[in-house]
Structures are given as C-alpha cells and as structure tokens.
C-alpha cells in the first residue's frame, strides 16, 4: 500500500505525538468511550451461568426440547409441572416448536455446545445421534431399575437400542395406519377396506372408489418409506440389514411397478396431488383435504387428522400380512451425553413413562403409552373417539405384530428423501420404475456409506 516511509520523518511525528492534547479533543475521546463501551460490553456479555451441584436437593434447571403442536405443548407442560410439584428443586426450561426445522435446531444447539439436557427424537435421527456419541447410554439406569422398562413390550424398548446401547426410551408406541374416509364410502355404498386385504385387493378396491365417487381411492404411497418398509418385510426383506441396505434394485422396481399399475388404473390421484400429500404435514393429508379416500399415516395420528375434517374416519393396518408391522417407538426421549444433570433427566423420563398421573395427562399424544399397565388405564379413561379408534386398532394389531426391525441406520433421513425423489420421478413419468429404482439404490449406497 504505502511505500516505506523514510526514517527522517520520524522526528516531527514523534513531537506531534507528545504535544498536549487540546481539551476539546480529549472530551470528544471520552465521549466516544462512554458511548461505545456499553455497546461493546453489551455485545460481549453472553452470560452463561452453570450450577452443577452434586447435592440431590440442590436446585436443578433442566432444559427440555420437543417438537409438536399446541396440544402437545399443553399436555407436556402439565406433566412437567407435576414433576416439579413432586420435586420442588427441579424446574424446567421448556422449548418446543413445529416438526419442520426441529432437527436443524437440535443439531445447531448441539454444535453450539448448548444442547438440551433432555430431548425428543425419532427413529429418523436416533442412530445419527447415537453413532456420534451425543446420546447418553441408558442401559446402566435400566439395569439399576432407575429407568423402569419392566412393563414395556420388550420389542418396544429394544427399538431404542443402537450398537448395543439404549440410546433413547420410547415415549410412546405407534404403528402404520391406513386411514380412510368412512363418510364418503357410506354415501356411495362402498365397502370399507379391512386389515389383511392384499395389495392387489387394496388397489382394486381403490379403483372402484375412484370410479364411483370421483375421489381417487388411495394416495400413492410409493414415496413413503414406511409403506415400502412394510411391503419389504412381507417379501421377506427389510429396509436395513446391519450397516447395509436390506433390499435390491429389483425389489424397488417391483414396488414402483405395483404403484405405476395403480396409477394407470386411476386408483390414485395425479402426480402433482400425490406430491402435495408427500410434502404436506399431517393436517393436510389427502384424506382430510378430500383429494383421496385413503392416506398412509401412523395410527396415533388419527386425532390430528380428525381435527381437520368433518367426515368420519376409519383406520386399519396397511395391506398385506399385518405381522410385517411392529410395535414402533413413535418417538423417544434421549438424554444428552454431556448433560450435567443426567440422573435427574433420566428420572424425568422414567416419570413421564411410568407415573400414572403423568401418563394420564399425556394420553396418547406421543403414541400409546409404552407402559402396558398404564396403557389400559388410559384407554379406559379416554373420551376422544378418534383416540379410542387408534387405541382399538393398535390393541388389535398388537396380537399380530411381528419382530421389531433394527433401528434405521445413519443416513436414513437421506434415504427417505431419496425415495421421495425417485418415486416422484416415476410418478411424473420422467423415469421408468426400473430407472428410478436404480437411481434410488445408487443414491442410498452413498447416503449410508
């Protein structure tokens, strides 16, 4: 920038430097400091107070983070207030938000070194967090009885085990549920679908519905990993086997072909409406927006669906042999490994799952209560007809459930979005089922590598 200044200029500058400051300048400088200082310190003062105490009765502030709507927030806050009532030294810093963006926020909090002590997570991300050692292994607490899973179905708590460690405890149980519009079917004198119908029978039924009601009979679930998963299990395959995929491109081609056939027979909506269903949250699923007679959801989402439609809804298992379905942890509670209040956090999980008052408060919002004794209490208690329905279908299916699959592996969320992309490629007619399948399997391999 500037050429080196010759040394001769040194003297005058030095003198200028030593001349006394005129008073006005000094005052101006002082003013600057007084104005700027608070700004600086305001920006710099990022308070972090930590009270890590060993005393069991010392005050503990536990941060807890979940996703969900207003209803869930209300129920959860009530249940946590009950805990504080029983343990006055424990208070909660509660944060919740909608599902969209939840995992971005959780990842950012973790990266920022400020993760919540206790957080809600699902099988989409459990392995991601467990594999990176972000979740506390709950096995020792389970063994010492501080975390009581004795009343849980074994397959349910096992669905929280990643690499031999209990990474999360099921906050509730759900399973795949096919929800259909009863009112529409009754109006046109059409039969209701039943559990155990084959896929072919389901599509034939949907075709008939479309023909008579002008409402497409069934949402095309080819982009839906949970439908694909059930179908795979009925073919003796699985989504994952160990650290690998449990299926081949041929399986995917068969799956896409099945639904291409259904689309050709007009059993499903058009591609853009299918896409709308794929990319909307539960409140805008096609069965409630009236754009199809059937939607593919989780059974415990019945109350949410019912809130958005005046029509009567029914729920059954997905087509094919229902033993391909399993007692799935709808979501988990996990404890951050670096939490200063691990023991309290575990105790809160235990409370939310095994305390009769708390479980009654929470109802079936996160799925059927994991504790089977309390599940009976809640189902006897509930008055919400939609909730009753979802409890009834799950109770019926519980008799038929098969073994739980392993928890989806690291990269699963990418696999899910790749399935949507590939299936939609086939739906819009931009690729043949075989091309879309090959592309999907290729993408999966790099996603889980």
């Amino acid at each position: 920038m500037h050429p080196a200044t010759p040394p001769t200029t040194d003297a005058p500058v030095g003198r200028a430097h030593r001349t006394p400051l005129p008073r006005r300048r000094l005052l101006r400088g002082l003013l600057a400091v007084t104005v700027a200082a608070p700004l600086m310190f305001g920006a710099a003062a990022c308070g972090d107070d930590d009270d890590g105490a060993a005393d069991p009765n010392a005050p503990v502030k536990l941060s807890i983070f979940w996703w969900g709507g207003d209803a869930r927030a209300k129920l959860t806050e009530d249940a946590l207030a009950l805990y504080t009532k029983k343990h006055p030294n424990v208070t909660f810093e509660k944060t919740w938000q909608a599902n969209q963006g939840y995992f971005d926020k959780l990842a950012t909090l973790t990266a920022g070194g400020n993760p919540p002590d206790l957080f809600q997570i699902d099988d989409n991300y459990l392995a991601e967090y467990a594999a990176r050692n972000s979740t506390l292994d709950l096995t020792p607490y389970q063994e010492s009885g501080k975390l009581d899973t004795s009343k849980f179905p074994k397959s349910l708590w096992q669905y929280g085990v990643v690499d031999g460690k209990l990474a999360g405890l099921a906050a509730g149980e759900n399973t795949q549920g096919l929800v259909y519009n009863k009112t529409l079917l009754a109006k046109h004198n059409l039969p209701e679908p039943t559990t155990g119908m084959s896929w072919e029978q389901h599509i034939a039924w949907a075709e008939q519905v479309t023909a008579k009601t002008k409402v497409p009979g069934t949402q095309d679930p080819s982009a839906d990993y949970k439908a694909f998963w059930v179908w795979l299990r009925q073919q003796g395959k699985d989504l994952y086997e160990g650290k690998d995929l449990g299926f081949t491109a041929e399986d995917v081609t068969k799956w896409f072909d099945l639904w291409k056939g259904a689309r050709d027979r007009k059993a499903t909506p058009t591609a853009d409406v299918i896409h709308e269903g794929n990319s909307s949250d539960i409140t805008k699923q096609l069965v409630v927006t009236g754009k199809s007679a059937t939607s593919w959801v989780w059974a415990n989402q019945m109350p949410d669906l019912k809130k958005n439609t005046k029509d009567e809804l029914g729920v059954i298992a997905y087509p094919g042999d229902p033993s391909a379905q399993w007692a799935r942890a709808s979501m988990y509670w996990s404890v951050f490994k670096g939490s200063k209040n691990k023991d309290v956090a575990v105790d809160v999980i235990n409370f939310l799952n095994n305390d009769v008052e708390a479980v009654k408060l929470l109802g079936t919002d996160r799925g059927l209560p994991s504790n089977q004794d309390l599940r009976r209490v809640v189902s006897d208690d509930t008055t919400d007809p939609a909730m009753k329905q979802s409890i009834a279908v799950e109770a019926e299916l519980t008799q038929k459930f098969g073994e739980s699959p392993q928890v989806p592996i690291k990269g699963h969320s990418k696999v899910r979005s790749e399935l949507i992309k590939a299936a939609e490629n086939a739906q819009y007619g931009r690729a043949t089922p075989a091309e879309a399948a090959a592309q999907f399997v290729e993408a999966c391999k790099s996603a889980i590598a």
């Binding site: 200029t9 005058p12 700027a36 969320s413 939609e424």
Partner: protein
C-alpha cells in the same frame, strides 16, 4: 473483505502512526482522534469479526474436514481435498443444483432488469399520480425474501389457486404450477421478476441524472424516440445498469427463501427447485455433512467472485462514465 486489512487498533507502533501522519499531512494527526474512531467503530468491528470473518475462516477450515455438526470440534478429522473431490466427481445432485441455479439466474436476472428499466422509463414522467405508482411498483421488493410472500405464491399457483381460476375465466385449464417439476422453477422466476422494485428505483434515479440537453440535441439532429433511447439513455445509464446487473446477479444466485418455502425445504418436486444454497443447506443441516457443505459454500463464493470479475472486466467496453468524472 478488504475490511480485514484495516489497521489493528491495538497496534500502536510508530510505523502505523507514521502512515497515518503521512496520509493526513504532518502534525495534523491526533492520536486520540484515531482512538476515538476505533472505539466508535468497535461494535461494528467486533460484529464483523465475530459474526462474519471468524466464522467464515472457520468454515474454510471445516471444508477440509468431515465435520458433521454433532461431533465436537476437537474430534473433527482432516480429510484434505476429499470434499472438493466429491463435489466435482461424485455428486450428481450437486451439479443438478448448479444447473438449476444457473437456469434461474440466466432467465430471472435479465428479465427482472428489463422489467425494472421498462417500468422506470414509464414512471420517469410528470404524470399525475406517478408517485403512487412508483410506490406500488416498489412495494413487492420491500417484501423481499419474506416467507409470507412465498406462502402466498404457493397458494396462488396451486392447481386450485387464484391464477388458475383467472385462467379458467378464459377457458384455459391451468397446470399445478408449483407442484409440477416442469413449472415449479418458472414459478419461482416469476416471483423474482415481480420483485423488480429495488432496481427500478435505482434506474429512476439514474434516469433523472441524464441531462435534458442531450435529448434536445438529439432531437435537433432528428433522432427519433428509439434512437434517443439507444444512443443517449442507454449509454448514460450504463453505470447504473452495471451496478444493478452485478447486484441482481449475486442476488439471483443466492435465492433461497422462496425455493425453501415452496418445496418445504426439499428442493422438490423432483429436485426442480434445488437451488445451490438450498442444496447446501440440506447437505449441512439435514444430512449433517457440514464439512462438505462448507466446501460448497467456498466454491460458491469463488464462483460468484469470478462472475463479478468477468462483469467488471467487460464493463470497460460498455459502461460509460460521463466526461471522465467518476460517479
């Protein structure tokens, strides 16, 4: 970026004083004034360092690692150029995103500038109520990257949205624009073009600067309207066009909000709206490949820098600054 080369306020060696003294003339410089300046500057400077410069440099480092957000910094592994290698050789969706972004920018930016210039020409007259129109045309760009606007857009261009209702009045059956992979990106382009208010206002200001003598001289010479536009308006406006072109191109490349909202954060349907920044976001926050996402960000920065440099180097052939003065 040039700001990072600003003198360090904590360093008070004679050398730096000398440099200042030389710049301001001997004896005039007062140390306290410089200090006061830096103290006033400090909130901004701390903000720049803390919020922009340091994180940016950190991301440069992260782009050579396998950082996945969840793993603590201390356990991050250095992977050399692997992320860059993957981007250029093994990631088809990366190149797909590049294509989508280029298509978007190549169509939306020129059309937006044309719309801005056209409307600015119309509004550069002394009509009654012209101020109201200026305000109305400027309004959409105030809503800028707003999420609400994108949501409205999605609902307008649905299969049963307002736009198709309008078309049906003329007996045309519309398409499910936002849910059709062949049209979703075009819908986003229309949204971007519609927000031409900001460049329009700048064009208007530029048009006001063109001396009326030039038009008078031109009409005396018998130039018609079109000739006047081509030979007077465009050259006189070229610095403003250049400014808007650079700014809007950078904006166009960085489009994120509308694509994110329209596709629910997925870039769908079938990746048709997978803009570069959206792909970067998904890679970093959904797929937890933050190291790789950082590499993408740096390549993006370089690409934009190169494009801007190209603009600047071609500028000398078509940008005219009147009578040698700088604007």
């Amino acid at each position: 970026m040039a700001l990072t080369t600003a003198p360090d306020p904590t360093r008070r060696g004679p050398g730096s004083d000398r440099a200042h003294a030389e710049r301001r003339g001997p004896g005039r410089f007062r140390h306290s004034e410089g200090l006061a300046g830096y103290v006033f500057l400090s909130p901004w400077l701390i903000g720049l360092m803390g919020v922009t410069a340091i994180p940016m440099l950190l991301s440069l480092y992260l782009s050579f690692t396998n950082y996945d957000i969840l793993t603590p910094f201390s356990e991050v592994e250095w992977v050399g150029l692997a992320n860059y290698e993957r981007m250029f050789t093994a990631d088809p969706s990366y190149w797909h995103a590049v294509r989508v972004t280029l298509t978007f920018a190549l169509v939306a930016v020129p059309l937006k500038l044309a719309a801005a210039l056209g409307v600015a020409l119309l509004l550069n007259r002394a009509w009654r109520g012209v101020g109201l129109f200026r305000g109305l045309f400027y309004l959409p760009s105030l809503l800028g990257g707003s999420v609400a606007l994108a949501i409205v857009w999605v609902n307008m261009f649905n299969r049963d949205g307002a736009f198709n209702s309008l078309l049906s009045l003329f007996g045309i059956t519309g398409k499910p624009w936002v849910n059709d992979p062949d049209w979703a990106l075009e819908t986003l382009m229309v949204l971007a073009i519609w927000q031409f208010g900001a460049p329009m206002v700048i064009f208007l200001a530029g048009l006001k600067q063109v001396p009326t003598e030039l038009y008078e001289a031109a009409s005396v010479d018998g130039a018609n309207r079109f000739r006047q536009f081509r030979n007077v308006t465009l050259p006189m406006l070229s610095p403003v066009i250049f400014f808007n072109l650079v700014l809007e191109t950078i904006n166009g490349f960085q489009g994120f909000t509308a694509a994110f909202v329209l596709s629910n954060g997925t870039g769908g349907p079938v990746d048709s709206t997978l803009m570069y920044t959206l792909n970067l976001y998904i890679t970093g926050f959904t797929d937890l490949n933050m190291g790789y996402a950082s590499a993408m960000a740096w390549v993006f920065l370089l690409a934009i820098a190169v494009i801007t440099a190209v603009f600047f180097s071609t500028g000398r052939f078509w940008v005219h600054y009147s009578d040698g003065e700088d604007r």
